[in-house]
């Protein structure tokens, strides 16, 4: 096992640059801003005739998805391809894992195929950390979502969306609405907003869908939707994660929509130029009304575009951090 936390956080190299991207926890404001700035310049690449730059030519990015995903998987693939990397995607849930191979064995095999980066999505919280600690240190690990814990690239693409549409988050009121309990997106967003200096972070949810100790994130909790949405600049809706619910948390979807669904009428309580975000996939008529999802306030599809740029930034920055670390260690050895 590599020594980590005592000397420096696992996801940073000796110079404080990203070498893995596991969680937004412990990353400072400068680093988050650097990710956003880098993503901004990659956005321009996506608007060109040839949407490709040669930064990661000859590198192999391996998407290892233990959980289903469409948006995250395809935008990671596209991000890697736009950086000229070679990409393979493994849906582990449908391959060797079902034949009894362990997570570690699967990864060791991929490592033996000389992959340079793993993008990992897993249903268990902490899976990406575990992999970053136990695979060979030359492989950069990107967390594509682990259980209820974190979805850091989603968090950063949400920050990029807010910054591009509303400017700096510092003086904005941001409401995160819905199934906070099961949401890794909510956790990553709360950490990112706090780190970037947002002073008014609100979470709106029924008591049964709020995690214990939510106050530690420095947020204001509302159980009344109208009260929570009053004069906000940004509304981040969350998907109701029915697949993670073991029953008893909600009376019914209809009841949830009646109390916490984002409708045109409810949105009228927010600022007139408020933006509406959603990490997708959206459940129309469960957490959001179709007219809102497709309406003028919605930036849901812009989020997808920004997601590619953010993932390009994270892939190139971690690869760069890994390379720098290897060089540093070689020099030290001499």
């Amino acid at each position: 096992m590599t020594p980590t936390d005592a000397k420096r956080p696992l996801q940073l190299n000796d110079q404080g640059q990203l070498r893995h991207f596991l969680s937004l926890d412990g990353l400072n404001r400068e680093l988050l801003t650097e990710i956003l700035d880098t993503a901004d310049s990659f956005l321009e690449v996506g608007a060109r005739a040839v949407k490709k730059v040669p930064l990661l030519r000859g590198k192999t990015v391996c998407n290892v998805f233990f959980e289903n995903s469409t948006r995250t998987r395809t935008t990671f693939e596209m991000a890697a391809q736009r950086l000229s990397a070679d990409v393979i995607t493994l849906n582990v849930s449908t391959s060797s894992a079902s034949k009894g191979e362990t997570l570690l064995d699967t990864l060791r095999n991929l490592e033996a195929m000389a992959a340079d980066m793993f993008v990992v999505r897993h249903g268990d919280s902490g899976a990406a950390h575990f992999i970053a600690e136990h695979v060979c240190p030359q492989v950069a690990i990107i967390n594509g979502g682990d259980g209820r814990h974190a979805h850091p690239t989603q968090g950063m693409l949400d920050m990029l969306t807010i910054r591009r549409h509303k400017g700096s988050v510092e003086n904005l009121s941001v409401a995160i609405v819905g199934d906070i309990l099961h949401s890794r997106v909510a956790r990553s967003n709360m950490i990112a907003l706090k780190t970037l200096g947002c002073k008014d972070i609100r979470v709106i949810a029924p008591k049964t869908l709020l995690p214990i100790g939510i106050e530690q994130y420095g947020v204001k909790v509302y159980t009344d939707m109208n009260e929570g949405l009053k004069d906000v600049d940004v509304v981040i809706m969350l998907r109701l994660q029915r697949e993670r619910m073991s029953g008893g948390l909600l009376p019914s979807e209809g009841e949830f929509y009646r109390l916490f669904g984002l409708t045109t009428a409810r949105l009228a309580g927010a600022k007139p130029d408020a933006i509406v975000m959603h990490p997708g996939p959206i459940n129309r008529g469960v957490e959001i009304e179709s007219a809102v999802a497709d309406g003028p306030h919605s930036v849901i599809l812009n989020q997808v575009t920004y997601g590619i740029a953010v993932r390009m930034a994270v892939l190139s920055m971690t690869m760069s951090g890994q390379t720098a670390q290897r060089q540093f260690e070689q020099e030290k050895a001499q």
């Binding site: 640059q17 650097e34 321009e44 690449v45 005739a49 040839v50 730059v53 930064l55």
Partner: protein, 172 residues
């Protein structure tokens, strides 16, 4: 060594560039500066030419061949080309030509936008240290430096050249 004064070089470069473009029969050149020094030189050159052509800017960080050694430049800015590249005669402008690797990266990037009819290379200084077969068509001055010496351009106005020597100042 006494370094030349950029303003004086630029007026001569404007004359040389005009002559070069006339010889080639290029009437509508498109100007592109390489971030950051190249943009300053390009702006000064456009003023000297009395031209109000739009200036394209190129940041070649995503195209450099030393990414695997040096990593990503921390402050990459978007490239902005306010005109078509396809079929156009381009004038590519940089401040200091050394190994030629920046120009190679810039050419690669430009070709991702389209197929230019021609590319003319203009550089304020040529340090006579090419590692690739890349030579400027128009150059302000050619210098030969000691291995420990470097030239730095500061700007945008006035443009000032400064000689740095890492054997005298270990911080460099």
């Amino acid at each position: 060594m006494i370094l030349p004064v950029p303003a004086e070089l630029i007026s001569q470069m404007a004359i040389d560039l005009k002559a070069h473009l006339a010889r080639r029969g290029i009437t509508e050149p498109r100007f592109i500066g390489i971030r950051t020094g190249g943009i300053w030189v390009a702006q000064a050159l456009l003023r000297a030419l009395g031209s109000d052509s739009p200036l394209g800017t190129l940041d070649v960080s995503f195209y450099r061949d030393d990414f695997s050694q040096n990593g990503l430049h921390p402050q990459v800015r978007p490239s902005e080309l306010p005109f078509e590249i396809e079929g156009q005669h381009l004038v590519l402008i940089d401040d200091v030509l050394m190994s030629g690797r920046t120009i190679r990266a810039a050419l690669n990037e430009l070709f991702d936008y389209g197929r230019p009819a021609s590319v003319t290379l203009v550089s304020l200084l040529d340090l006579d240290a090419a590692e690739l077969p890349i030579r400027p068509n128009v150059v302000g001055a050619t210098l030969s430096l000691k291995p420990t010496e470097r030239v730095k351009l500061s700007g945008p106005a006035p443009l000032i050249l400064e000689l740095q020597d890492s054997s005298l100042d270990p911080a460099l």
